[in-house]
Amino acid sequence: MSAAIPKVLVVDDAATVRMYHRAILETGGFAVEEAANGYEGLEKALSTTFDLVLVDVNMPKMDGYSLVRALRGQPATASLPAILISTEAEASDARQGYAAGANLYLVKPVRPDDLTLNARMLTARLAR
């Protein structure tokens, strides 16, 4: 069973974006950890139990699609809710995101309410 405070892993190479998502999520009652690229994101997601992962698409070392696919390929994280966040607004990019195994695909820049509501929705089944 998940801890009382849902934990989110924010994976993005831009420090300001991580700070922004952290501020929104902490205000929304989430605990937040960060990773600065997809490879570090994978290391952290496999070492710690998270309730949700936010994944930027364009990152060095391991892009967001590859990270989500890697998470889906591991038993420990196969069902970890994942929101892919990208600057790309083409429908084909969203399709690629869902094909990789993301639960949701959002376009940057993300609005605070959109992030909070979706984060709550994806972690709701874990709350008791």
């Binding site: 420090a15 490879y39 290391e43 070392k61």
Partner: protein
């Protein structure tokens, strides 16, 4: 002292915003995250570097860190903020992982009579390769079923000479239990212990320079490589080359351990990662 030199005590500490900027930069470049508890340490090192570079203040110094061709000041900063000392059983959790998770997996795919090859690089004065030997003899139940080759390599031939001699002081032995010291060492003079001949003669020491890709000239023959607390001191290009050389010297499915404050996430994504009970370890594709 030259009149224009500034002493550390005359350099103002970085402001909160300057420190945040530096912490973000170090995290991006190295993966090391300096939490608030370590900020006083970081501030002091920054003041030292500003003074050493005779800079006008943080902005000028950080500009050098950021833009200097070749990245010399950036490397000097990284050197200054990473603490390194070598002793036996350093980062012991990786030796635990070696015995509980890595070696059993390697052993399972060995043909009868096929050797297990472990490489410690850089080995400095030998504490690491000898620690590997001692630890697996003491803790790996299958150690006597396999021929295990341990090689220690370094670029420093003086260090290699001392490694072969196998003499150490109390500081190097401080994390070993008295039982382990008694089992593997003999005191040869006040303050000096020598590793037993049996262990000294079972580790091969060679000269090698990881920056020159010749470390893989023998081909992919190693099962497990320890390359700890070396890559962090390399610039971006050298780190990439070193990662490729390490990849090429490993057998398919071979394992790589870096130092505890290092991560492949700032170097290369060519290695798969294995999350074991005791450690995260990198692995070449099987």
């Amino acid at each position: 002292m030259i009149a224009s030199q500034r002493r550390t005590s005359n350099v103002a500490p970085p402001t909160a915003a300057e420190l945040e900027k530096l912490v973000e930069f170090l995290y991006r470049k190295t993966g090391m995250l300096f939490e608030p508890a370590r900020h006083p340490f970081l501030e002091k090192r920054v003041q030292d570097r500003i003074a050493a570079g005779d800079c006008d203040g943080f902005a000028e110094w950080f500009g050098r860190v950021r833009f200097e061709l070749g990245g010399g000041e950036c490397q000097a900063l990284i050197n200054a903020v990473t603490v390194n000392e070598t002793h036996f059983y350093r980062e012991e959790y990786q030796f635990r992982c070696m015995v509980s998770s890595i070696l059993p997996e390697i052993a399972a795919r060995k043909a009868p009579g096929e050797r297990i090859r472990i490489w410690s690089l850089p080995c400095a004065t030998g504490e690491e390769p000898y620690s590997i030997g001692m630890y697996l003899l003491d803790h790996w139940s299958d150690a006597d079923r396999f021929d295990i080759e341990i090689t220690g390599s370094d670029i420093d031939t003086d260090a290699l000479r001392r490694a072969r001699d196998g003499c150490y002081d109390a500081r190097a032995l401080q994390y070993l239990s008295p039982a382990v010291v008694a089992r593997y060492f003999r005191q040869v003079s006040p303050g000096t212990w020598q590793l037993c001949e049996a262990l000294r003669s079972s580790v091969e020491f060679t000269t090698a320079n990881i920056a020159d890709s010749s470390i893989s000239s023998a081909g992919p023959v190693h099962d497990l490589v320890f390359c700890r607390n070396l890559l962090i001191y390399f610039d971006d290009v050298s780190r990439r080359r070193a990662a490729e050389a390490l990849y090429d010297c490993l057998k398919p499915g071979g394992f790589l351990c870096l130092g505890h404050s290092e991560s492949m996430s700032r170097i290369s994504s060519i290695f798969g990662m294995r999350v074991f009970k005791d450690a995260i370890v990198y692995q070449k594709a099987p």
